[in-house]
């Protein structure tokens, strides 16, 4: 006698279906049924992700322009050669690297500090947490729009705050209009908006550290400083690294906030790769060239992310 619990999922399914279908399903293996259920998702994935990727790679070797009715020619690696030898492209790469490095640096620094402070039990703890996470609930387009007003040299609050603390004339500088300040203006806004995200992840990490570890350290008379460096940081590190990965990928493809704030200017100093790519693909309509550009960016992000995830796994294993 067979126990009902020993029935395979296929048998259960077959018993619940009308006889003819059941007979057919009984003839299938578990693996085949699994494939039947997974196939629509795989098909969708292939259609939406994999096929466009392969098609993009194919286009990257052509001179195709989506706005022209002319014959498409295969031009080999010419698009790749052009991109990799174009000094303007390297400048946008530099602008992206600057943005990426400093936003992550400040967000980790401030986000972890805030998480550490919030993790200490005090009155109004929940209220402060809610207030701190408010910026990340806003739309990037809205944030970009109101920060352009805050940065306005004549009426902007930001300039007046800087003026209050430094005595500098508020209309004497323009955060989004000056070459030396504009890259920092986008770093400030992104940090303001996304530090709470890092804070929340770090907070989860800090709260996952059992109290008894600190109690044991207290018994061993370890100083607070030593506890911080030998318990808090190592145990929160996987969470912190995960947060950095998320923000790194997000900021590499940053578009909306920066377009709203500076439009890539002044000149091209805040023209990140995503903005530059959009211009090539959908304003200049150099589809083949833009495809090659997208492939280069994809390989860069994929490569860096893979290396990073390996490092993250090693940290988690420790």
């Amino acid at each position: 006698m067979t126990e009902p619990s020993a029935e395979s999922p296929a048998d259960k399914l077959a018993r619940a279906t009308p006889p003819r279908v059941a007979r057919r399903i009984r003839g299938l293996s578990d693996r085949a049924i699994a494939w039947i259920f997974v196939a629509p998702s795989i098909f969708l994935l292939l259609a939406v992700n994999i096929f466009p990727l392969i098609w993009t790679i194919n286009l990257s070797f052509t001179n195709f322009r989506a706005n022209r009715n002319r014959e498409v020619e295969y031009i080999g690696l010419r698009n790749y050669e052009r991109i990799l030898t174009d000094s303007d492209i390297w400048l946008t790469m530099q602008a992206t690297a600057h943005f990426l490095f400093w936003t992550i640096f400040f967000q980790v620094l401030i986000g972890f500090t805030l998480a550490w402070l919030i993790n200490r039990k005090f009155r109004g703890n929940d209220l402060w947490t809610t207030i701190i996470v408010l910026p990340m609930m806003l739309s990037p387009a809205v944030v970009g729009n109101f920060w352009t007003f805050l940065y306005q040299p004549q009426i902007g609050l930001f300039n007046y705050v800087v003026s209050f603390f430094t005595g500098v004339d508020p209309s004497s500088f323009s955060m989004i209009g000056q070459v030396n300040l504009a890259p920092w203006s986008i770093v400030i806004v992104d940090t303001w908006m996304w530090t709470p995200f890092i804070m929340l992840i770090c907070l989860a990490g800090l709260r996952s550290i059992p109290d008894y570890i600190y109690e044991a350290a207290e018994v061993d008379r370890a100083s607070k400083w030593r506890q911080f460096w030998t318990i808090t940081i190592p145990m929160a590190l996987p969470f912190l690294m995960l947060a950095v990965l998320f923000r790194g990928i997000e900021n590499f493809k940053m578009f909306d906030l920066v377009v709203q704030l500076t439009g890539g200017g002044p000149g091209s100093v805040t023209e990140l790769t995503s903005i530059n790519l959009k211009r090539e693909a959908f304003e200049k309509w150099r589809t083949g060239y833009a495809s090659a550009y997208a492939v280069i960016l994809f390989v860069t992000v994929f490569g860096l992310a893979s290396i990073y995830v390996k490092a993250l796994n090693k940290v988690k294993e420790r």
Binding site: Q178, G265, S268, F282
Partner: protein, 436 residues
Amino acid sequence: MRRTTLWAATALTAAAASGAQAEDLTLCWAAWDPANALVELSKEFEAQSGHTMNFEFVPWPNFADRMLNELNSGGKLCDLLIGDSQWIGGGAENGHYVKLNDFFEAEGISMDDFAPATVYAYSTWPKGTPNYYALPAMGDANGWFYRKDWFTDPEIMAAYKEATGDDLREPQTQQELLQIAQFFQGREIDGQTRYGAAIFTERGSEGITMGATGALYTFGFKYENEPGSYDMEGAVNSPEAVAGLEFYKELYKTATPPGYTDSYMEQGLDAFKSGQVAMAMNWFAFFPGLYADPTTGGDKIDFFVNPPQNQAASTLGGQGISVVAYSDKQDAALEYIKWFAQPDVQAKWWALGGYSAHNSVLNDPGFPDSAPFAGDFLLAMENVQDFWQEPAYAELLLAMQKRLHDYIVADVGTAQEALDKLIEDWTETFEDEGKL
């Protein structure tokens, strides 16, 4: 063959004229003052034809993106499109616009009835050939306006005389414009700090190119040594062009409001209407609205054509109206164009605030006095110059936007280097296009 197509066009227009079927037509254009005037004007067409007019107006910064995407995807949103002058090459070569020659011939619409500069710029492709893809719809050029009340204030006039030795007046040259703008920069008037001029510096679409070319053309900038040759060396980067670019940078650096780094039409209008600046550049299309403005219009404002330097020149704006090739309602759309081309409709168009390009309006003896800016408009249209109208115009424009903004606003390199790099960019584009 020619007779066959003529017959086809005649049959087509006859069917349209019979008004056999009332259609819902959609006209696409930019969202700005003249568009509102066109809505008002089109009510007459609706009453006469039985067709219903719908309008799709897109703000200028997104207009090109939105409409060119629509055309490139073969979209049927627009039956009629008032597209920018630079789109004519792409519209014709990529098959987006219906060629109108047979229709014009069948309906007796003559391009000789329109101002030659507008026909050349808005209708023909290849340039200057009698191949028409649009009817001149809205004549326009970049002009200037200023605070007449400040220019005629005795105290300010005396201060200007003392500071410069000259009389304060409408600028007669680009250098005089700069001198006046610098005089007003940071000046206290009625207890507020004012600035010299609002100019175009926008990076994203076409702003800084449209503004800077206003100076460049007057100094002697040319796109090619010989029209149609694509020979740019010595024309684009001539000593005169370099001087013109340096001039525009000086105007930007020494005579514009603080933070004026990404400004186009709207920002310029705001700067003037809020009393920030003494002068501003903008398209003539906005002038009726500016004159009617209760705060800074009326007797507080006056207008002048872009001042010459080495030669008279103005940057061309304006558009022609085309029938979109993907429309299923081309008959009704052609009917609209036929109606719009009539002299009495063109006269109403001007009266409502649109800039007619029809000779019957422009050559009317009363035209120069019909509005405070009408005479300047005529002057401007005599010497207009337009950007490349090639099918690859967007690529050419974005290259110029980048090089100009890099030099003027972001202080990258010299004017000579900016124009040299521009030639490199344009050469690459024309090579890709197979024209070099």
